[in-house]
């Protein structure tokens, strides 16, 4: 028991690191919005386009989603086919996940990280610059993102594997840290000033018994 509790702390720590990295790189979307908006203004209103704008834009976007990969995994946010999964007992879910993490995830992500490392290394060695324009910005930091993001993803994947093992032993999924959710019902209720009592007091609509439907 104590072992699992200690384990749980380590898991949450890794989750926290992934989340922190993801949150930090999330701000790139603000930067991207401002940069592109400014570029549009600068080009149309000031008649002063910047040759590097396209490269910078791409780099913001690529870095944003690559670095958020581990964060999304930590929050269980990668899309799953939810046909049967939801009906399984937690132990069955953990078994399937465990097998597929080992069979698909680990080889795939290791290959990506390893390949990315050599890809980036070559770019550093030849001092590669973007050739979209004549004097493009350097590309090697951008390419370095591939192995870095792959590394974070791998660590988070190992944590997920340990989660599966804990779930197999305990019979229920270990907890995750809370995070902002796309559909946060409580927040939305607050936004439109609806309280739970209001919902409960809603009368049944007409024709609740006789079924209206397939027209």
């Amino acid at each position: 028991m104590a072992f699992f509790l200690r384990m749980q702390k380590t898991l949450l720590l890794v989750d926290k690191i992934s989340t922190w990295v993801g949150h930090a790189f999330s701000w790139f979307i603000v930067a991207l919005t401002l940069q592109v908006s400014w570029e549009v203004f600068s080009r149309y209103a000031l008649d002063r386009p910047h040759s590097w704008a396209f490269d910078v834009m791409i780099m913001f976007y690529g870095t944003l989603f690559m670095m958020a990969g581990a964060y999304t995994l930590a929050k269980n946010g990668h899309v799953r086919g939810d046909v049967l999964y939801g009906y399984f007992a937690p132990r069955t879910q953990a078994t399937i996940d465990l097998i597929l993490y080992v069979v698909f995830f680990i080889p795939g992500v290791i290959a990506l990280t390893y390949a990315g490392y050599y890809y980036a290394e070559e770019s550093w060695r030849i001092n590669e610059h973007s050739n979209v324009t004549a004097e493009g910005p350097p590309v090697y930091p951008f390419k370095t993102i591939i192995p870095v993001a792959g590394g974070f993803l791998l660590v988070q994947g190992i944590v997920e594997i340990i989660r599966c093992i804990i779930c197999l032993k305990e019979g229920h999924w270990p907890s995750r840290e809370q995070d902002v959710e796309e559909v946060d019902v409580d927040k939305l209720k607050e936004m439109v000033h609806v309280k739970d009592e209001d919902i409960r007091s809603i009368p049944a609509g007409s024709g609740a018994s006789k079924k209206h439907g397939a027209a």
Binding site: G22, S26, V40, Y44, A53, I58, F65, V183
Partner: protein, 664 residues
């Protein structure tokens, strides 16, 4: 035991898929690098079958695709040259990943998603629904119609199905039930309306399709505009007809629900006369009435007239100016140049489709957008209206403009004749909720479709506009609230939180979509290497289908896939298989994309995995059952199929606008 039954069903399907896979796998050759061409093709099909099983098991799809792609790519390379296999596999992988990272079409995804989250948090849906509800009181089934219209506008701006359905489930659904509406009808209009956002541009679905199929997103947006409007109108039409035939399902609203509260100035002036415009002019001359308030009302009243006037002047200028300044030949030439520039730009945009080995930086699209955008920006405003003006070859104003002028004057006269105090109040409410959002959408969409800006630029400016919109609405709410003195501070603090939340959510959604894209592009590369594509092609062609049969088959398969899978998975995994077949049957990928987008609407409404139903159930009162919600969604699914058939029979609904604008 209901659960068991579903599990058994799922496992049976999986067994049906896995058994032939195990039998057909060329085991003997698998590990000795002696795979023949035919073996590889079989392996490719097996890979496809396995991926379906793996997705059904519920493992994160992106990594299923990535892992499977790596393995099978290695098999394929090994059969060609065992020594280089590992190197080649790794190279393929990293190049595919980098191609997604530097994809200049997908870059619009995070920006539109960001814009959606910001607009969603602007807290304007409540006003929007209320003003539309009051504006539409005279229509039969007014609450349901207002719900669908609110959904259509709000979903278009945000594109987040879950949030729109939840919000409307909190606002419109209780309002409809209180008014005595049938539960199923109410549920159907909320869920069906909430899903419109994935079809009506600017939608993320169309960007992802464009990136997968190598179709210009600009043209997809232009093409999806009218089908989206058509679907919304069909929904509205269905509700109105149903309310007319069976008034018991949607009883008319009580008087108290329809009453519009007038502003103080209006209340003092209203008893003197019915017409607000005359009343306001009258009020200006009378003593004892605050002049500023009257003037404010008057400005609001004349706005429609001013807007129409401005539109007329603009049309007059564009229609007559070129005829006076230049000869017709020059005109046509200029128009052609504009069209060419637009064409070239859109080609530049999709210059590096995901299909190609776009790993190297030099394959990024060249920056013609930078230089070319300027002439494009100046010219197109004249381009669309030139066509009707040119053939007339007359210096004076063309006839259609006179007709338009006459119609406008008549409409305005009718409008001001019927300009009652209540209408003025409703118009002011619309002005504060409906028009800003509509303006944002039109500005974003218009600048993309008419070629003023690339989708990326429009999305970024749209996100910025969404941010300003959120500031404005939050500030007004606090300004009118009890703590006026702290309005600025409260708004700033709130906007900080909104910005943070929206950024985090954007990062997660983008990572989800783009990692899926990384996985699938590795997967489809492996699939192509194995020759699976060829086998499918040969097989489909051997069936001897006519284009019509092929289209129906394809749409049917996508419809079926929409039950268990989400739209991201369907587009990203299965479109690469369908797209190469289109050329064989002479089907336009643009048109196919529009059909797919319309078709995938049903994916959200079809039980067992209808996301929209569960979001609504989550906020509905306990006595509303899932079956009632599903029952309410069925007629709307029927309408979607009708819309699909209509679009197929009259492709002009979708293709007319791209044809006019880009001369396809």
């Amino acid at each position: 035991m209901k659960m068991r039954k579903e599990l058994w069903f799922g496992f049976t399907i999986m067994a049906l898929i896995v058994t032939p896979v195990l039998v057909l796998t060329p085991w003997s050759h698998l590990f000795d690098a002696n795979l023949t061409r035919a073996d590889l093709g079989v392996l490719g099909l097996l890979m496809l079958a396995l991926v379906v099983v793996a997705i059904m098991l519920g493992f994160p799809t992106a990594f299923t695709l990535m892992g499977m792609g790596v393995m099978f790519a290695w098999f394929a390379y090994r059969s060609a040259n065992p020594d280089l296999a590992v190197r080649q596999t790794l190279d393929l992988m990293v190049q595919r990943a980098y191609a997604v990272m530097s994809n200049d079409v997908l870059i619009a995804v995070p920006l539109f998603v960001f814009m959606g989250y910001l607009v969603e948090r602007a807290a304007l849906i409540e006003r929007l629904f209320k003003s539309l509800h009051l504006a539409l009181t005279r229509v039969p089934g007014s609450l349901a119609v207002a719900t669908i219209v609110t959904c259509a506008i709000f979903a278009t701006a945000t594109g987040i199905v879950g949030a729109v359905v939840t919000l409307m489930g909190l606002l419109a659904f209780p309002a409809m039930l209180r008014a005595g509406y049938n539960t199923s009808v109410a549920a159907g209009s909320v869920t069906a309306g909430g899903c419109l956002g994935i079809l009506i541009p600017p939608s993320v679905l169309l960007i992802v399709y464009g990136a997968t199929a190598g179709v210009s997103v600009v043209q997809l947006y232009a093409g999806a505009f009218f089908p989206g409007i058509m679907l919304a109108l069909l929904y509205v039409g269905y509700v109105i007809v149903l309310a007319k035939i069976k008034p018991s399902l949607m009883p008319p609203l009580a008087e108290s629900e329809r009453r519009v509260v007038l502003s103080p100035v209006a209340q003092t002036l209203a008893p003197r006369g019915r017409n607000a415009l005359a009343g306001l002019f009258d009020g200006l001359r009378r003593p004892g009435i605050p002049k500023r308030a009257v003037l404010g009302q008057l400005v609001a009243s004349v706005l429609p007239g001013l807007a129409m006037g401005a539109l007329l002047i603009l049309m007059f200028h564009t229609a007559t100016a070129p005829v006076i300044e230049a000869s017709t030949a020059g005109l046509v030439e200029a128009g052609g140049e504009v069209a060419a520039a637009v064409q070239e730009e859109s080609v530049g945009l999709i210059g590096a489709p995901a299909e190609e080995e776009a790993g190297e930086a030099q394959e990024l699209s060249p920056p013609p957008a930078a230089e070319e955008a300027k002439p494009v920006a100046e010219a197109p405003s004249t381009a669309p209206t030139e066509q009707p003006a040119a053939p007339a070859e007359r210096r004076p104003v063309p006839t259609w403009l006179w007709i338009f002028l006459g119609v406008t004057v008549l409409v305005l006269a009718g409008l001001y004749w019927a300009w009652t105090w209540e209408r003025l109040e409703v118009f002011k409410m619309l002005l504060a909720s409906f028009f800003p959002l509509a303006l944002l959408i039109i500005a974003v969409l218009g600048s993309i479709v008419f070629g003023f800006a690339t989708p990326t630029e429009a999305a970024a400016v749209g996100a910025f506009g969404g941010f300003l919109l959120a500031i404005a609405y939050r500030f007004i709410e606090h300004w009118r609230g009890p703590a006026r003195s702290r309005a600025v501070w409260t708004t700033t603090r709130e906007m900080g939180a909104i910005l943070k939340e929206s950024s985090f959510l954007t990062a997660k959604t983008t990572a989800m979509v783009c990692w899926l894209f990384v996985g699938s592009s590795i997967f489809s590369a492996a699939f192509a290497l194995l020759g699976g594509q060829e086998i499918i092609e040969r097989w489909v062609l051997s069936l001897g289908l006519t284009p019509l049969q092929f289209m129906i088959l394809a749409q049917f398969i996508i419809f079926i896939l929409g039950w268990p899978l989400e739209w991201t998975e369907i587009i990203v995994i299965f479109m690469p298989i369908f797209i190469p077949l289109l050329a064989k049957f002479g089907v336009d990928p643009l048109f196919f994309g529009l059909l797919v987008a319309l078709n995938l609407q049903t994916a959200f409404l079809s039980p067992p995995v209808a996301m929209a139903a569960f979001y609504l159930k989550g906020v509905a009162p306990p006595h509303v059952t899932l079956n009632q919600i599903f029952g309410g969604m069925l007629p709307f699914m029927g309408i979607q199929l009708v819309a699909l058939a209509l679009l197929y029979t009259f492709p002009g609904i979708g293709l007319w606008l791209p044809q006019v604008l880009y001369g396809r």
